[in-house]
């Protein structure tokens, strides 16, 4: 085996050409990691939402709370079912509201009842106070408050025919609820003249009870409801990120092919410049395959360095807050770019593969250098 040190030194010797190729690979990885950081951030809001013992009841076939509505009497039936510990009837409406940047988007308003907060213990009021029942007051998630106009503490926005005052800011630990505005159920139902429930959130007494309840609710002809696990309900919405994910892979693959060609160019140049060196190595007794492996390794090293630089270039996007529309619920979802160690490892692996593939053909050429002619040449 030719020691890897030989390759590393060779890479360092040709500074300029190496640097340009490494930087090319780095940019490819930076784009790949940044877009995937966006996808991961978006998806994690849905993956991390919900309590395993919570069930969401929505109108049969409606898929989301936004489309769902049913009679309020249903709650009385459900509440008394075996295995139900607590229930909260809620209403969801979507309003069209301008972002801080001017263009408008849809925001979800949830009218909650007294059990709602207790059923979602992860949600904390971080500023101000809770709304008072009977008043047109609301609490806004921090993400929404930063992203939308007039939604800061103490400000008020016009919804329907009333002015609603923001009295508190809550933090839902980067879950899907971080993209919502909450107010009193009765106030919201009145404002929109919709005396219905969009959903009922149930807390069950245990895992067995959950499965059993789901079956009983599905079978109950009076109810016409779907009972979905809260976690499942949100996990299904991770498809929101699919379009960006496809874009990420498409861009990454095309850029990677382009970078492979660039790596090939550099490696061909590297091997042709070192023809004599290679012949000498052969004379010293190194085998063909050993030369081949050595050059592929050199190219992989090039790729890995590029990958590391690329990850470093992408790092500043971590934590940037942005938003898109969840077309399932038809409302804005706010999320943060998320670069995890796994994602960085993926980026570096991706770069190593680019290096490996790009180095294969040049390395094969190097391993076939005719010894005598190469030694006689002046290269």
């Amino acid at each position: 085996m030719i020691p890897i040190k030989y390759n590393i030194r060779s890479v360092v010797v040709r500074r300029m050409g190496t640097a340009m190729t490494v930087f090319g690979v780095a940019l490819t990885v930076a784009v790949f990691v940044s877009i995937l950081a966006m996808v991961r951030g978006l998806q994690s809001t849905y993956v991390d939402t919900g309590n395993p013992l919570n069930l969401i009841l929505i109108r049969r076939g409606s898929q989301t709370e936004t489309n769902s509505f049913f009679d309020r009497d249903v709650k009385k039936i459900v509440e008394t079912m075996d295995g139900v510990e607590a229930a909260a009837g809620e209403i969801v409406v979507i309003i069209n509201h301008p972002r801080v940047t001017g263009e408008t988007s849809n925001v979800m308003i949830r009218g909650i009842s007294e059990n709602s907060m207790a059923l979602r213990p992860g949600i904390q009021l971080v500023e101000g106070q809770m709304f008072k029942p009977g008043l047109r007051e609301m609490v806004v998630s921090r993400s929404i408050s930063e992203r939308f106009k007039d939604t800061g503490l103490g400000e008020s926005i016009r919804i329907g025919r009333s002015d609603w005052k923001v009295v508190g800011i809550f933090d839902a630990a980067r879950t899907a609820y971080d993209s919502e505005i909450w107010a009193d159920y009765n106030e919201v139902a009145q404002e929109f003249e919709r005396p219905i429930y969009s959903s009922i959130l149930l807390r069950t007494s245990g895992e067995d009870a959950t499965a059993d309840l789901q079956k009983r609710i599905a079978d109950d002809r009076r109810l016409k409801l779907d009972a979905v696990g809260e976690r499942e309900y949100f996990e299904k919405q991770t498809s929101t990120g699919d379009a960006i994910k496809i874009l990420a892979y498409f861009v990454a693959v095309i850029m990677a092919i382009g970078s492979c060609f660039a790596v090939m160019n550099t490696m061909y140049a590297a091997t042709s410049r070192r023809t004599r060196e290679i012949a000498t190595l052969r004379v010293l007794g190194f085998r063909r395959w050993s030369i081949l492996v050595s050059f592929v390794l050199e190219s992989i090293v090039l790729g890995i360095v590029g990958g590391i630089v690329g990850c470093l270039l992408a790092l500043p996007v971590h934590g940037i807050s942005t938003g898109t529309t969840n077309f399932t619920s038809f409302s804005e979802v706010v999320f943060q770019f998320r670069i995890t160690p796994e994602l960085m490892a993926e980026g570096i692996l991706f770069a190593a593969i680019m290096g490996g593939i790009g180095g294969l053909l040049p390395a094969r050429l190097a391993s076939r250098v005719p010894i005598v002619r190469a030694l006689r040449s002046d290269g």
Binding site: M20, G61, N96, F250, V251, G258, F261, T324
Partner: protein, 384 residues
């Protein structure tokens, strides 16, 4: 001109390197053209003179809120309004949730008055649609995607509405924005749905007498309903569609940032290649100078060589995109998210211009350097 063959020979003296560089630049420009076309497809709905005369009214609170159907009669009385139809986004799913396309319930009677830019295949198809309450019309591209035939029964499973809608295809549409949409009778939907949801369309599509009337119509409609239980928001069809794009987030920023980074990699690739070939030729260039070639001529020849490589790559990438996307059924590939991509000739030209600029930027400094290098230094460097 007499140096053309000299430049050409130089370009191909390291054939492998030239080909690899062309391919690498080609890939990047293919990507840039794709992204640019994608952004165009999202941001610029086909603007026809007809679409400039169309105005959409919806509930001011948002699309999930509907308006009383009686608004239609009042809207029709607004000066400048020629026709108005109720329109309802149906949502739902066709066989599988992945089969996404736009499904609308519309007033059939004045559908073609509001959408004169939509063409039906034959007058018979048009009659069938108008006369049958359960008839539907499908965009041609959409019909091709699912291999639909006239007379076929299509069932849409409701989610916004708790009903399944069964319609029979009366004919196929093309023109305007119709190619990927599906239309059926609003009256039919209105009958199927529970009575608490009935008689409340989501939007009204208005046809103005002329595009000059549009601003006045927008104002009159919105002020007419300002203090009612369902205040409205009225805007042109174009503005309405752009609103959807902005809902997706800052797509323009995302796409332009990616394109900028890709462009930067092209510059790197081109610069690296030219630096390699110039370095190899340092001695030769010294000899050319000894023969009396001026630095300016050497600089020009080198830049022309690099431009040749870059522009070939750029045009190849752009043309590959143009013919690839024409050959592919984009609706099926992207499940309806991007119904079609058309890399326009302008975009191909843009790719060529970008490549030319890249070539000049990436070659100028290394070439300038070597063209100015004193002969003795250059010859000595060759010997090393």
């Amino acid at each position: 001109m007499k140096f053309v063959s000299f430049v050409l020979r130089n370009t191909f003296r390291n054939r492998r390197r030239t080909v690899l560089t062309v391919l690498s630049i080609g890939m990047s420009l293919f990507l840039i053209c794709t992204l640019r076309t994608l952004l165009e497809a999202l941001e610029n709905p086909p603007a026809t003179p007809e679409s400039a005369r169309r105005v959409l009214t919806r509930h001011a609170t948002g699309l999930a809120n509907n308006m009383p159907v009686a608004y239609k009669e009042r809207i029709l009385k607004v000066p400048g309004v020629e026709f108005a139809v109720s329109n309802q986004w149906f949502g739902g799913e066709y066989i599988d949730p992945a089969n996404f396309f736009a499904r609308f319930a519309v007033d059939a009677d004045h559908f073609f008055d509001v959408y004169p830019d939509y063409q039906v295949e034959s007058p018979e198809q048009r009659e069938t649609f108008l006369k049958n309450r359960t008839a539907s019309l499908a965009g041609k591209r959409l019909a091709k995607r699912f291999d639909w035939k006239v007379g076929q029964t299509i069932t849409l499973k409701g989610d916004i509405f708790p009903v399944d809608v069964e319609t029979r295809i009366a004919g196929f549409l093309e023109g305007g924005n119709s190619d990927d949409s599906f239309y059926f009778h609003w009256d039919y939907l209105n009958e199927l749905i529970p009575k608490e949801m009935a008689d409340r369309p989501g939007t009204f599509v208005i046809r103005a007498g002329s595009s000059d009337d549009v601003p006045a119509i927008v104002d009159s409609v919105d002020s007419m309903f300002q203090n009612s239980a369902a205040p409205t928001k009225t805007e042109t069809e174009g503005a309405f569609i752009l609103g959807f794009v902005s809902m997706m987030g800052n797509v323009r920023f995302l796409i332009t940032s990616i394109s900028t980074v890709v462009l930067f990699t092209v510059v790197l690739v081109a610069a690296n290649t030219m630096a390699m070939s110039i370095r190899e030729r340092t001695g030769e260039i010294a000899i050319l100078k000894t023969l009396g070639f001026t630095p300016g001529l050497i600089l020009t020849m080198t830049i022309v060589e690099s431009a040749l490589i870059a522009v070939t790559g750029g045009l190849l990438g752009a043309l590959a995109g143009r013919y690839l996307y024409r050959g592919l059924d984009m609706g099926a590939v992207t499940q309806g998210f991007v119904p079609f991509l058309d890399v326009r000739w302008e975009t191909v030209g843009f790719a060529g211009a970008v490549s030319l600029a890249v070539a000049v930027i990436s070659t100028f400094f290394p070439a300038l350097n070597v063209s100015r290098m004193p002969i003795a230094v250059a010859l000595r460097r060759r010997a090393q």
